[in-house]
Symmetry: C2
Amino acid sequence: MMKESEALKIIGRAPVRLDGEEKVTGKALYTVDVELPGMAHGKVLRSPFPHARVIEIDVHKAARLPGVITIITREDLSGLGFFGATYKDQSVVAIDKVRYVGDPVAAIAAEDESTAAEALELIRVEYDELPSVTNIDEALAPGAPLVHEVSSTGGEMHGYHYEIPDEFRGTNVCYHFGYSRGDVNAGFKKAAHVFEDTFTFPRVQHYSMEAHATVAQVKGDRITLWVGTQDPFALQEHVAEIFHVPLNKVRVIVPYVGGGYGGKLSVKAEPLAAVLSWRARRPVRLALSIEESFKTVTRHPARYRVKTGVSRDGRLVARECGIQMDTGGYADAGPRVTQKAGYRAVGPYRIPHVKTDAYTIYTNTVPAGAFRGFGTLQVTWAYESQMDIMAHRLGIDPLEFRLKNLLKKGELYTAGDTPVDCDLKEGLIRAAQAIGWNEKSKPNRGKGLSCCMKDGGGTYKVASAAVKMNFDGSIVLLTGTVEVGQGALTALSQVVAEELALTLDRITVAQLDTDVTPFDCSTNASSSMVVMGLAVQRAAQDLKRQLLREAGRLWNGGLDHAVFQDGKIVSGDGRAISYEEVITRRFEARAGEMIGRGTYKDKKSKKAVLGSPTTFWETSWGAAEVEVDLETGEIKLHKYVSVADVGKAIHPVQCVGQDEGAVMFAVGHSLLEEMVYKDGQLLNPNLVDYRLPYFDDQPVEFETILLENQNGPGPFGSKGMGEGGLLPVAPAIGNAVYNAVGVRLYDLPMTPERVWRALRFQKDRGK
Amino acid sequence: MMKESEALKIIGRAPVRLDGEEKVTGKALYTVDVELPGMAHGKVLRSPFPHARVIEIDVHKAARLPGVITIITREDLSGLGFFGATYKDQSVVAIDKVRYVGDPVAAIAAEDESTAAEALELIRVEYDELPSVTNIDEALAPGAPLVHEVSSTGGEMHGYHYEIPDEFRGTNVCYHFGYSRGDVNAGFKKAAHVFEDTFTFPRVQHYSMEAHATVAQVKGDRITLWVGTQDPFALQEHVAEIFHVPLNKVRVIVPYVGGGYGGKLSVKAEPLAAVLSWRARRPVRLALSIEESFKTVTRHPARYRVKTGVSRDGRLVARECGIQMDTGGYADAGPRVTQKAGYRAVGPYRIPHVKTDAYTIYTNTVPAGAFRGFGTLQVTWAYESQMDIMAHRLGIDPLEFRLKNLLKKGELYTAGDTPVDCDLKEGLIRAAQAIGWNEKSKPNRGKGLSCCMKDGGGTYKVASAAVKMNFDGSIVLLTGTVEVGQGALTALSQVVAEELALTLDRITVAQLDTDVTPFDCSTNASSSMVVMGLAVQRAAQDLKRQLLREAGRLWNGGLDHAVFQDGKIVSGDGRAISYEEVITRRFEARAGEMIGRGTYKDKKSKKAVLGSPTTFWETSWGAAEVEVDLETGEIKLHKYVSVADVGKAIHPVQCVGQDEGAVMFAVGHSLLEEMVYKDGQLLNPNLVDYRLPYFDDQPVEFETILLENQNGPGPFGSKGMGEGGLLPVAPAIGNAVYNAVGVRLYDLPMTPERVWRALRFQKDRGK
């Protein structure tokens, strides 16, 4: 019926971000900017002990402090449910015991923050301290104290059935993911060489510029939350469950979000804010400090023992993956992170015999949850480091060794999953070329490569969008994707603009509000461009169909070869009608609107290991050139090349920005960051003691290469991106360090001290 | 395909209002409760002269006052458009001249209201005073000064073509409505008796509890307004036109509205708030005082000369209607009010020969605009008073006289309009019975009747609604109807609840926000229950169709005799599936939603006098029993009976409340209220000098009778209501006064002084 002009007008270009002006002029509003009449301010009393029974809480003195409005303790939770991203193991405040230093015990709403803080000091809590476990080894030791007395034996998660192996029942293990194919023992027997290495990944914090904040307003039986969340619809559901009300009683409004990185997924301190408001009968703002965000959620510290068998001619034959992830005092997203880590542990290589066992383990530390790259950095660090270990041991160039084993486009990662949708070799060769792989480095300098892949978009996504055209032909886009800084709203608006042949200034994105915004699963896992992108594109196309139908009615047909051009429908025979005219003639007045709707839904499949084939593969390659200071152990990043398969860059400048940001993030994890526990106490929950990267820590030379083969499932051939860039960084740097000075690092971060020690004392831990 | 259970579950019952708890506990938020970071406060400098040229405005001293952020004068309007509900004759502040006492000349945004008020005093304006006209006679006098130099000769309004008659071109007349049928002069010749009477209606104020208030926030090129408006979509359009931006750049959010009554239709002080915010680069709150609301909009003072010919046997033969309406310094809705007054001037009677001429006249007084009953009270006061004059002169009982002449159900009011849709006699007889028409009154007491009709719902309506079902089966209703206190949100939710067999607690109405709420023409003219009611009902039915389709897919058919029951679809063979299950199975997860959409659109017809047949007829009857104090002239209302044709009362308690409120309103107009001008100055813009009714002024006995014949076009046979109750009040009281003490009042309000004078000095003004 219609043929579009082939040339893209705005896709692939780099218009000014829709949120740009507001953000650079400081006018963008975040949750803490929300002001409501009579708003009170909340503060949280947190456990000073890693593990203790709560004997008594005395709030009388605090309650008498002028300006205190309400105090919440376990006494106030009667009738309220538990919550948690996977298991409902978390109460709004501690009930029987506290499980980590920072676990909320009580909360206060007062006229102002300082009164609330002062009142915190007046609450007396009597604890009965319990022995605690603050790392994986302690938690798994025989007879270890249990963080949660009732331990699971298995269950269903996202359509995937799991069981806790017998040996771990009744321990601190709360989840097990197992996967195997072929016969891994037979594989090892066939292998000429078997390598076994163990790598560790530290506990790191998201450190969003905006700490967790919520403004809650409970009026009657309706709860409204203004919150910088990545996950408004999940939060709505959790809060409805906690309060035992239907979804229409919970409204989540999302102002701008000052960074998320997974730390603002699911549910965090929002229920506490809601309960405070409920009890105070006033709106309550609960804005956590940076230190409190450190005590709210982290990335999972992990240990990955990877055992790989290789044939005489350098082909991978078998791999056994043993992964342990420390999820802290509450599961949060731990089991799902573990599942993904276990699933992704095999790497982008052809390996006939595989066995994976991944475990989630409770400890008395901060809960670990979703974090940009969700379970993947922990395993790429290991398997891509080991690839170099094996290549060197076998005397094969690491590039050649990888090329020999990489999956081909169209091959299956696992049976039932989406076939690999990009040319893994192409990206690796581009990275190698850009770093000058074949050129010799100067002394103490070395180069490293890595190649990583994750099933992109998260597990099983549903998203809807609406494109509302006002009667003057201008647009309001309703999308549940959260603008967390990634530029999604601009990219999604470009999709609408392209489809409807409009300029961006005629498109506005509506405030995200669960009352009115169509459902979206969540802003995570690099999913938005494909999942929401398709929903938005389909909504725009639905609107186009309606416009065409109306135009056909007005024209009595004549739509052959009609195209959308400059805000008009232009027929093959040259007639043109503006969208405004179509709508105002439809409604016989300057009135009404047309609304297009679109939905995207992943497929479910029992054949897929995780119950749903991946939406797309997010593939990324890294190449690093480093120099190691032999005296100090300091690693200097001379150059870093990041290659990202984006299918089609909707907004290339934003794609590069996302990719650079991802690398800079991962540089912190690789070289600097680690949350340090001693005696169950977190020692460095602040920016003085917890070392985020400065610009000086970042690569001197920095290159991002976008692979655009228009082969993605998203609009205009796009794929999701933004997480991929993190995955190859640590192993590329680790491999470069080995290449430079011949020492292999197994533990992150690669601090000068660790490098210095390795240079002097390293014995190879592999066997 | 499906058969519904016949019994209504919630329609016709009286559940607690959805907004009840919030309002009685003081938690409901209105515009003045909106707080934004950095919000400044606006104040307006207003003209002290009724008519003057603005020579010079000196703001230097004011600008230097600490705390003053910006000052707006005509210098700041460059590039901005004009506005007005009908004619664009109003600028944001005065440009060349001021046209009434209160006309905005400048505005200030400051850190707080008192600073802004202080700064107002420092602005020096040099005026060149001009001769002024402050009533209809002055305005129409030969050589009268012109309020607007450029006067119209005619134009198009809502599809209706009008011309200013030659004699009024270049005068203060800005609109003329003419209608005729038959041959009125021939009719008068045939008549046995011809009556000619002139009645006047005073200038009265809406006096909403909430004065006009706006919070405006201009960020970049986007304008957001929080405003207690009845007309968010029209306001959006006006503001977009003033700023020359597309509709997507203007967002109107409507908190609760503390009364509207027409005074918050179209556009008032909102553009001023927007310009202040634009210039201040900060959000600005502009909250008018009560006095300022008095100087913003009023009801039209009017004069109606009604000439009626009657046959020997008491049948109306001809009527000539001459109406003059004073629209003040700017047209506002004046022409449309005049059109409606002219159209409605004939009354609910069968009159073969009719001629109507209605004029809108500029004067140097407060602009007059829409007001509950829109042009109708001015004419019912006249024609229903004259009915009694004629009946008494002819010696016929006023009830009999009316019954003889009333239109029958199905008869045409005018050719091309919707036939009369109720039994006018039934209502009148009910009113007469309830007041005890045939029982003799005590001395100085008397009874009066009246019967009134207006084309209901306004002219040409378009409305859309969406019913969003969350995956748990709960509902968010999106409707553009404003909750102005009338209870519309509860009644509309009842429609959804009834259609979907849900309880009200599973239905929430979303915040009205033009970004996301489907278009609605406006909350006025008793239109919502029919116009939006049908849109909402159709949206619910659309959702039901979708649910049934999904259920059919899950059941492989089996939908014969399916019904919706208790949140489930129940098939004829007894299977049941909850809405939650339908949706979660559709999306294979606790995800997604279903959205039903509905639209209502009036018909257009060239045959209809006003271009569009009325949506329904709003018909109302009144019967009053009064006692007149012969010494003081005071009228005591002993009893008032109001009969309203509601088709079907969706929420009977709210209907009665609306009707009682309407009568109480009209009691004020009838007995007490009048804005008094002297030398162009408004003398009583406050509650000390402007006398609103107290409860003591209201009828001792008060009865509302709802006629429910299920014959309305709205959901479940409903009609709109809420305005009708006002129409019969003044003539019913006036007729009762005549019946009590034999004097006829021609001018409202019927103050003790007027009655006292009439008792002593009246000569009949009729002829």
